[in-house]
Amino acid sequence: MVRLADRDGFLARLMLLPAIVYIVALVAVPFVIAIAYSFSDVTAGDPSYDWVGLENYRANWRDPVFGQSLWNTFLFTLVTMVLTMVLANILALLLTADFRGKWLVRFLVLLPWTTPAALGAIAWLFMLDSLLSPIDWILWQVGLLEDGRHMVWLGKPGLAKASVIGVQVWRLVPLAAVIIMAGQTAIPDDINDAAAVDGAGFWRRLWEVTIPLTLPVIAVAALFGAIITFTDMSLVRVLTNGGPVNETHVLASWAYTKGIDGGNLAQGAAVAVFLLPLLLAATIAILRAVRRWEVT
């Protein structure tokens, strides 16, 4: 008699089952529902399903807030990624250098990443408060801001956008730095020594050796960061809730506001589904690029 557990592949399938159930129940099913809703007129008040074709997409397209959200999503992602990559590279270089108390600094640097996104955002809500902002206080002390005046970080469209980007960068830099650091430590010592013997100074070594050799890793870090930024809703939701006057909404937060807060599930779903082809295209493009770098 052959025991069940001895049968080829049975155990493997059994072990995979929880993961598959998880993915099907929490990713695949909601995904299919979202697509289905986006072609319907389902609302919180009237959950009956009626096919309306592309009507939701058309309505969204006409909606200026949707346009603003779409623009913001790209703007935030792009600016966040550029800033994150620059800062993460600098940080990684600092952290690979040898100095006392390195472990403590590494630990502190990683802290923002370990903080749950919403919690970090709430902390920043206080940092950027219109009346109590410690940043304003610092600006007073160094004389960059007239005493008693306030920046009102989250109350002006430009500053609010900058704040959202700034906090996102704060959150993403540690992860990116650690990933890039792994790439930098993977460069053989001999290569760095050879560059030193060949007469390359710090900058030449950075631009001609370190960065080209860590490019695939930087690309992976950028891909992760971009997807996280692109799909993130909690930061905008907590920090500005899209304000002032819908100026800082991104697609994810607008989908939530429209679908959950506003109860228009179908239109919210259409906003969310709109992210899909964009993400897919970005992912394929970056993965292709990574593979090309590895081959050459």
Binding site: P188, D190, D193, A194, A195, A196, V197, G199, A200, T296
Partner: protein
């Protein structure tokens, strides 16, 4: 223009280590010399080379290149070039870009840079490969690219860190010839690190034998081989190594190929020492016979190896006892306490 390289009391102790990796080394090359640092793994030879290159800061002592103190100077200010064991080519650059890199760092104009790179490539037979990347090259080709990158700047000193150890045996022999030829053509002072005694003996003008961070002996290959300064050098060099036979108050040494069957000797036995060998085992290695056995009559009975060249036809069988002779002048003597070479017994 050849320059000298000097180490004066050079010492390196890595942090957290008690024993220095390089321990008060005094060393000086001649102008244009091919100096080989030889020793087992971990003897400090690479650390010594890296201190000369400026990749490692000495704990104590001085490095002088062309008479100038270079302590504290970065590698690029030392007019040296180095070839690494792994070659350390830049994988993302073409052969041309690899070779041009040191010139680019010197801010040489593009046109001149191109000419120089092509000159170096020509010299090492790489002209056809300039647009390839290191991945697309064989081990031997990579090694030549590393060499081209080193020589393109026309450095005053070449530092080579086991550049042949990543090549297969056959390629290594030709690469050795190429390196030696190349040195004869350019005449640049060269310091070559290896753990391979064949490379050291074959290439070095002089050999520096190192152990535990200290220099044990410096001299031309033949002198180091025939007159080792201590028992370590005696047994580290030579394959099989020198036979060491304890005798009261001394250790007597002789090279395996210096012993001959007594009957081969046609003249008298003046100036020779006669002893007997109980032959236990015979190995045939590339035509030579290696006799493993117990020697008596030289000192205490000791296991030794005798290497009979293919030209000695005396029939000898395992399990027999045979009389052997060694010329007195081929015997080396060592102090059993210090293990240092001595002049031998008085009288």
């Amino acid at each position: 223009m050849a320059v000298t390289v000097e180490a004066v009391g050079l010492t390196k102790t890595f942090s957290g280590r008690e024993r220095p990796a390089v321990d008060h080394v005094d060393l000086a090359t001649e102008e244009g010399e091919y100096l080989v640092l030889l020793g087992p793994s971990g003897c400090g030879k690479t650390t010594l080379l890296r201190m000369i290159a400026g990749l490692e800061q000495p704990t104590d002592g001085e490095v002088r290149i062309g008479g100038d103190l270079v302590n504290g100077l970065p590698p690029r200010s030392r007019r040296i070039a180095m070839v690494f064991q792994s070659y350390a080519l830049y994988p993302h650059k073409t052969v041309r870009q690899n070779i041009e890199f040191p010139l680019k760092a010197e801010k040489m104009p593009t046109e001149k840079r191109r000419q120089r790179a092509e000159w170096a490539a020509e010299l090492l037979g790489l002209s056809e490969l300039l647009d390839r990347r290191p991945r697309q090259l064989s081990g031997g080709e990579r090694q030549r690219v590393a060499l081209a990158r080193a020589l393109v700047r026309e450095p005053s000193v070449f530092l080579l860190d086991e550049p042949l150890s990543n090549l297969d045996a056959k390629l290594r022999a030709t690469a050795r010839d190429d390196l030696k030829d190349f040195h004869e053509r350019v005449g640049t002072t060269t310091i070559y690190v290896t753990h391979d005694q064949v490379e050291a003996m074959g290439m070095g003008d002089r050999i520096v034998v190192m152990l535990d961070g200290q220099v044990r002996q410096v001299g031309p290959p033949q002198a180091v081989y025939e007159r080792p300064a201590d028992t370590f050098v005696a047994t580290f060099l030579g394959s099989p190594p020198m036979n060491l036979v304890p005798r009261d108050g001394a250790i007597v040494g002789f090279r395996p190929e210096k012993a001959l069957p007594a009957e081969v000797l046609t003249g008298g036995r003046d100036g020779h020492r006669t002893w007997t060998l109980d032959v236990h085992r015979i190995e045939y290695l590339s035509g030579d016979r290696h006799l493993h056995g117990l020697a008596t009559g030289l000192g205490e009975p000791t296991p030794v190896i005798v290497r009979l060249p293919a030209t000695v036809l005396t029939p000898i069988d395992a399990g027999t006892t045979h009389e052997f002779v060694v010329r007195d002048e081929d015997l080396c003597y060592f102090d059993p306490e210090t293990e240092m070479a001595t002049d031998g017994p008085a009288g």
